[in-house]
Symmetry: D2
Subunit: 320 residues, 4 copies
């Protein structure tokens, strides 16, 4: 009888609980034993775990956050910490470790896989959608909808006050959220870290919009594009239009998962259990071309997921 460990790691994402539920229930049905380590990699190092079964994941499919907790774990980034984790996995006789997290967590998992025998299966779950090997991660759709709903509200004020709004959404290095949200709210301008922008073109666009009768404009910007406070101020000063900044912050991480985030959590979790049952190791599961697939942990970790710039172009053409 296999023994499976589960962790959630990195920033929490809505749908992590749905993923835990899937893995626990399907693995239990196959007769596997399950333990949940708490606080991500920290739990591996401190060997803090609890047994899990079908009842311990009841009533969580619709809850944001993670019942297994999560934490940044600087110690795991050191050789000694990672070694300790590997030893505990061996000591606890964990055959497979399911890592529910994003790109950062998978990088850690990849390193760990090099020094321990436990098979590692990654379930991409992060609002950032930055995992190579899957078109979408668990939690991304929820974060996009949460940000979108807020901007729909801010639009009321933008229109009533005839103002420019710069809205900063999450994404320190990647623009997936900004792009999806910008398209969804009909943003006049979308700024992502992957594409350099020219502030003069922003001024031009805003001025053209004004001439067309668009008295309010929405600029959706990923946090990674630079100082949005400064940008907002510059826009105000240069164009003479009132501009305001709104930072959509941590709220994007929480809340009940959307149907799609729960759906992906179910499909990904199901594939993960299939994969580990087959004795495969060091893979992540993912969505590609409408199918649930696996990709090696190595490939996922060593490849940068591209942003679809055609969508950026489409958003621009739609904001006329």
């Amino acid at each position: 009888m296999k023994k499976i460990g589960i962790i959630t790691s990195g920033g929490d994402a809505p749908g992590m609980n749905a993923a835990i539920r899937t893995v626990v229930r399907l693995a239990h049905s196959k007769g596997f034993k399950l333990v949940g380590f708490e606080r991500g990699y920290e739990g591996l190092i401190t060997n803090t775990f609890r047994p899990m079964g079908p009842r311990s994941v009841g009533g969580i499919i619709n809850r944001g956050g993670t019942i297994l907790y999560t934490a940044r774990c600087p110690e795991f980034e050191k050789k000694s910490g990672m070694q300790k984790a590997a030893e505990n996995l061996e000591k606890d006789k964990i055959d497979d470790l399911v890592v529910i997290g994003g790109n950062g967590s998978f990088q850690g998992a990849y390193e760990l896989s090099k020094i321990c025998d436990t098979a590692i299966i990654g379930v991409p779950s992060t609002i950032d959608n930055d995992v190579f090997g899957t078109e979408e991660t668990v939690g991304f759709d929820t974060a996009v909808n949460t940000a979108m709903e807020q901007i729909d509200k801010i639009r009321d004020t933008a229109v009533s006050h005839e103002r420019i709004f710069v809205i900063e959404v999450m994404g320190r290095t990647r623009g997936f959220i900004a792009l999806a949200v910008g398209l969804a709210v009909g943003a006049e301008i979308i700024l992502v870290p992957e594409v350099k922008f020219d502030v003069n073109k922003i001024y031009d666009t805003l001025e053209e919009n004004h001439k067309k009768g668009k008295k309010s404009s929405l600029i959706v910007a990923a946090e990674g594009i630079g100082d949005t406070h400064k940008l907002t101020k510059e826009i105000s000063q240069h164009t003479g239009y009132e501009a305001r900044l709104s930072v959509i912050g941590y709220v994007q991480r929480g809340g009940n998962p959307t149907a799609r985030s729960r759906f992906l959590a179910s499909l990904f979790g199901s594939k993960a259990v299939e994969v580990l049952s087959n004795g495969e190791k060091d893979k992540i599961v993912g969505l590609q071309n409408g199918k649930i697939v696996t990709v090696s942990l190595e490939e996922s970790c060593e490849t940068i997921k591209p942003l679809d710039e055609k969508i950026l172009q489409l958003a621009k053409e739609l904001a006329i």
Copy 2:
């Protein structure tokens, strides 16, 4: 210079406005002229239309319903009515007609295509998700989330009262909504028109659940599975557990579209404009294997879209 007509037809779906906006703005950018006929096919028969341009679709991306109105049109089902529509399209010199609607609307479009020269392009937009040729329709994701959010609330009462809840969602002939919603809320039982059910198995499942300590259970049923009032009563009487029915009705049709419904509306509308620019005719656009594709109107209308019964099986395995 091409002249494009647009209609929204059949039951309204969240994202229809986003689709109108996309088609109008992109077609306008290509130099095409645009008119919107009102109330679906009725507007073709009465020749009721208005010119449309980029400003006439401002501020609608986030609105449910349709600014072009929609209506059932029994007259269009008669030969004389359809003939009149064809004559008006010719008289108005409409080169292409974009039909934003579901399977029923496309059946009408297909008939119309046989008697008129106007090229017809279908943009699948219905909460029912019943269009062959696309994995998902505009509005489906919103309807699923709306129903799911309601059932998340009903769960509070189910748990507090330790009751069985039968929840009827939309779907007179198809179970797409019921399946997606049932998976998302973690329903103990999902009933769809495509799969016959045995009421005795329902009793058995509920009794097993009770023994396991699950004192409340959710049964998600498509309206097409039969009389849910009767089913609820029978469950109460047979099992002795308190059962209640809740019908999630028209609310599933309305509300602001989700990010995904807006996203599909943008991609579908964009493809529709590309298709009609190319001089193609009598097609629908759709999502297949993660790509935006076209399918002939004929094929879409003459094929029944299958329900993915593997998902039904997965939902069952997860509800232990």
Copy 3:
């Protein structure tokens, strides 16, 4: 040291958990001992209870439903059942019993108060808002907002299809929800059990509205006004306009409480603890003229709370 029992009784209402939290934490701070009986009066009869303290009510302020469960209890309506409850309260040495519920629960509490020494304090908590002695009950504001948000969505379909919608909201005997919701959505017609209606006047109003250019109308009706299916059909047949019915059901009972429901739960719970600390007995707490007050259980149970018909008149004047 006093010993306090708590029950939640009758239909669950959003904010019951917030009320439990308030009573438990404030009573604990005063050095009182606390137990929660489960499933309302049933728990008194079966003597099923658990000790409660500040940590047992953590993380529940924002949750719908009730962690103490609730149930209808036909046995409590019999003399023998009520007697058993009274005996258990005596045996368990419960000095005060806090009953969190609505009018039906308070009627039971009033009868119980006649045969036992335990002081009873009622905290009005029901979506029905039918408790005399308080202008508003915990949960009412949430139910009104939940129904309103749904009707805001249905309006999209009403406008797009140019239809009449009859919307049935909760209220078997009272029209508080229908009135508040009807005013909030700008319903053309509001039907409450307290005021007889003439179906011919409904036809007249709808026809006048149509002449004014209002092609869609919303009729908000309490469930207690009669057969809404029949009414909808009659309206269709008589006026010739398309009419549809939507029943907003159990969803009104669940969901996270609004700020106001939590606010009232905090103020009511606080007053309840003050009252029982003072050694007062057989009272309910309530909101009157912006102040938190107490009313005798007897007076609350023997008086019918009036509906404010001036608001009904105002809603009518606003729907022109």
Copy 4:
């Protein structure tokens, strides 16, 4: 026949549209003529207005923002600007001006009332709830619920990461939003501009909480309490717990109004029309002790509305 002008002024608030609708429809029914000036006081100075009637306020009861627009108007603060506004009111023969706004707008209205004959009626409508003479303003309940819903989501992350969250809500000079939101989310600490705080007491409270087993804590702070970035950093450094800041910004101004905001808009608007019909002048309407009352514009403007510190105390007692 009276002629009534309407403006919305200051920051937009959800329910302003519902208030416009009420005033327009009820005043129209009394046979009064109505014009809406655009962009608040700016519209009075530029004499930009449009006629209004029952149909021009259809479909807006559920919309955030204001169809009459609003703007800051520095020119109105100068003598010459205000004089110009007064002249236009006289020239346009406006008998009564309904000002829908907050304390700042009423200060302007009060000054204007000293130099013109037009009767001024204030309808308190601001998320800030800072108007003396009314316990609640239109829009306040919506803003509180919007902020609360966000913090309910942030709590998921706070719990999952076992972090302290400082959450900044609106309120540059007043703590009404912070207090109501803090109570509603069960914040461990609430900081308002009206009450000085000692950062050492915050450290103590957080450390006590940690000992009790509360690994996450929420601190709700009004923006007016000082630099929340600095505070968050200091908490992190001093206590050693991870602390994060989230600023709930402009989203609090927008969105569909809650039932209560629409209810107050209806009652306030109704009272405003009654007041101006009676020939009263230079008043505001308000809610006091559960009744709709009037207060002189002078008294409202020259009195500071007190914050109820007993609620602050209650919130503290509940956060044990």
